[in-house]
């Protein structure tokens, strides 16, 4: 009841704020704070400089906390306070009933790779222009890996540890050649409690908090093992051997102490703090973390000593979860024509170049990246990885995809923390997903 009251009070406040917002022709609700907001401000500035009075855009931002929940409530209430709003791949199905499908302008195909445009598609329709792409890098300490590949004693110990903990003697490899097993062996080798000569306390830092975003990170491993949410017939396949293997992988590393003992409360920030302290040798993390981790001011312990590759290879190949943020049109908008004009311009190489230079992370076609690669070298890798390894789980954009992530986060963390057995967690996940994803 308290939540409902808060909701009603929030709606009343927004209605009051709307008195001033209504004066703008096209109001855009963006992703607040960080490089996305900085990028959108620059883009809007450039657009307004040449748009007619009637087509100018005005930006508004909520707080990030509970952003998608507040957005869902506003859209469901048929708000007209914004015409264009943020969209995310994993929430497309949730918002699609309240969004207006769009027709992509010709320039969009020149600006974005097809896989990236697909991150804004649901049920065969395009709902937005992708502005930012998120995927995963395997971060590693380049100085430590270099020594591991050359030091004979370390190589011997590596072989002994892999044999003892993984049941097979492995040889150290370069990170770009890692299988998930190689990564596990490396993580175990760089764990102080296992190898007293390890220069780091932990070999990795896993994000195991009961949080939907942590499932996205872990999915890169599950997919490489061949896992998917559903098969082609729509049957839930979450209890497949692939999911079991990937879940057991995290559990093994957690139980063997290769990740901090509080990892079941770790998410993005905690993991970055651990890796940034110089006490973790590897980390599977979002691409967005690179700039801060490589900054001498923010993380002097590891800056300049970080390498990044795509996540390791599994029996089914090499994969990284991808999802996009983008902008689409509110179905209840009263300025749809102006909104379409803005989005059409946003999909041009010109707009996306401005956006990227201001800090945004769009995944762009090779031709567009070539023009800004000197200023944003990370965007090259982003586009390459998205094109080569990007995947979205079958059902990952469904109306209840977010609930599926929530369910998995709850059940899988129950297994990792020892609250449930693997069979119990998978059985509960399977029945819950069948209910959520039923046609």
């Amino acid at each position: 009841m308290t939540r409902l009251k808060t909701l009603l009070a929030g709606a009343a406040m927004l209605a009051a704020m709307g008195i001033s917002a209504a004066k703008a022709e096209v109001t855009v609700l963006g992703w607040p704070g960080g490089p996305e907001e900085a990028g959108l401000r620059k883009v809007a500035e450039a657009y307004n400089a040449k748009a007619s009075e009637a087509d100018k855009v005005k930006l508004i931002f909520f707080n990030r906390d509970g952003f998608f929940d507040k957005l869902a409530a506003d859209l469901a209430a048929g708000t007209t306070e914004f015409d264009v709003n943020l969209l995310a791949t994993y929430a497309l199905g949730r918002y699609a009933p309240f969004m207006e499908p769009i027709t992509l302008p010709a320039a969009a195909n020149e600006t974005f790779p097809e896989k990236v445009l697909a991150t804004m598609q649901y049920d065969g329709k395009q709902y937005g222009i992708p502005t930012d792409l998120s995927l995963h890098f395997m971060y590693y300490r380049s100085d430590l890996i270099e020594k591991l590949l050359t030091d004979a004693d370390w190589k011997t110990t590596y072989g002994e540890i892999s044999e003892k903990y993984l049941g097979k003697k492995l040889e150290p490899k370069g990170p770009d050649q890692w299988t998930w097993e190689d990564w596990m062996a490396t993580a175990l080798f760089f764990t102080k409690s296992i190898n007293k000569d390890s220069p780091t306390r932990y070999g990795s830092v896993l994000q195991m908090k009961n949080l939907l975003f942590n499932m996205m990170v872990w999915h890169s491993a599950a997919r490489a093992e061949g896992g998917d949410w559903m098969d082609a017939s729509g049957a839930i396949t979450v209890d497949s051997p692939a999911f079991r293997t990937a879940l057991e992988m995290y559990k093994t590393l957690f139980d063997d102490g290769a990740t901090p003992k509080d990892s079941t409360s770790y998410e993005y920030a905690e993991a970055n703090a651990a890796f940034g302290s110089g006490q973790a040798a590897t980390m599977l993390q979002w691409n967005a973390a690179f700039a801060d981790l490589d900054s001498k001011e923010k993380t002097p312990a590891v800056a300049g000593k970080i390498g990044t590759v795509a996540p390791p290879t599994g029996p089914a190949g090499r994969f990284t979860h991808i999802h996009g943020l983008g902008l689409g049109i509110n179905k209840a908008s009263t300025h749809k024509e102006g909104a379409v004009k803005f989005l059409d311009w946003l999909a041009t190489p010109e707009a996306m170049t401005i956006y990227a230079k201001a800090g945004g992370s769009p995944a762009l076609s090779d031709a567009v990246v070539a023009g800004i690669v000197a200023e944003r070298p990370d965007l090259k890798k982003l586009g390459e990885f998205a094109g080569a390894y990007g995947f979205v789980m079958n059902g990952g954009t469904a109306a209840k995809a977010l609930q599926v992530y929530e369910l998995q986060a709850k059940e899988f963390t129950a297994y990792w923390s020892g609250e449930k057995t693997l069979d119990e967690a998978l059985a509960a996940t399977k029945s819950g997903m069948a209910e959520l994803l039923k046609q």
């Binding site: 409902l4 509080d262 409360s265």
Partner: protein, 290 residues
């Protein structure tokens, strides 16, 4: 004259009544409607009446009962510790407070921090690589417990809640202790009562109503805990730190099952009403007849 007074009274009370009806009555009616409806964000403006299914769903949901048990256990443990700690501090520090009353304001400081910020603060303090607590434990003892791990998280949450809200208990119990007339204690002393005897036979019985009120307020506050737990560990690994408030929040916003969330909150409201009514009845019975 009497009729005019009644009329004036009614006129004066009308704005407040209208205010309460608008502020509490409308949401309550809306909640009742949602609780018997199939409603999500998609049809929030046009819910479909579906009977008592949401109540049955909540009552049959093991997670609802797990959350209720978590809140009950947390509320009882935390309220008990806070009352005992507050009582001990109020009595032992009474001479100090009498000499330096400003110390009370100093001890109240933890209450001034928003619970959500307390959660964030402990996220930093307890973090292995940036937090001071693991750092010093590692320096001194070579190890530290996983404060937010499965084994320790409940204890950690109890300690955090106790550290923040014991000052509240201290404040009320200190006032109650200070309000006991010195004459009573003097008379007891003349009758030969020692310090411990005075405490057991004079002070504690006279403070009993204040102790009861403090325990009750702290229990309610801890039972409905949300902010500090949510910002610190969310709903916990496997939902292990899901309080009733977190359960309702998750059902509403995360799962989008608004009917279930509101039905759960109505059940909570009904349970609270029964508890309040019972306490009211018990209190009324104890009061001597005029």
């Amino acid at each position: 004259m009497e009729r005019q007074t009644i009329l004036q009274g009614r006129v004066l009370i009308t704005p407040l009544t209208a205010f309460l009806i608008a502020l509490l009555g409308f949401p309550l009616l809306l909640d009742l409607l949602y609780s018997v409806s199939q409603v999500g964000f998609e049809n929030i403006r046009a819910p479909e009446i579906s009977g008592l299914g949401n109540y049955a769903k909540a009552l049959a949901d093991p997670e609802f009962w797990a959350a209720a048990w978590f809140s009950l256990r947390f509320g009882l443990i935390v309220a008990s510790i806070q009352v005992v700690a507050g009582l001990v501090l109020a009595i032992f520090l009474a001479p100090l407070f009498a000499a330096r009353p400003w110390l009370i304001a100093f001890l109240m400081l933890p209450m001034m921090v928003a619970p959500a910020l307390v959660g964030l603060m402990y996220r930093l303090i307890l973090h292995e690589f940036v937090g001071v607590v693991p750092y010093y434990l590692l320096e001194w003892y070579g190890d530290f417990p996983a404060f937010l791990g499965r084994q320790w998280v409940f204890t950690t949450l109890v300690v955090i809640e106790t550290l923040q809200w014991t000052p509240f208990a201290l404040l009320i119990l200190h006032s109650a202790y200070a309000a006991i007339s010195p004459d009573v204690r003097e008379a007891a002393a003349l009758d030969g009562a020692t310090g411990l005897r005075q405490l057991v036979s004079i002070d504690l019985p006279l403070m009993l109503p204040a102790i009861g009120v403090t325990a009750f307020i702290r229990f309610i506050d801890s039972f409905r805990v949300f902010d500090n737990i949510y910002t610190l560990v969310g709903s916990g690994a496997g939902g292990s730190t899901t309080s009733m408030s977190i359960y309702i929040y998750q059902a509403f916003f995360k799962v989008g099952d608004i009917g279930l969330a509101v039905a759960a909150s109505m059940l909570l409201l009904a349970a609270s009403f029964v508890v309040l009514w019972t306490i009211n009845r018990l209190t009324a019975r104890r009061e001597p007849a005029p």
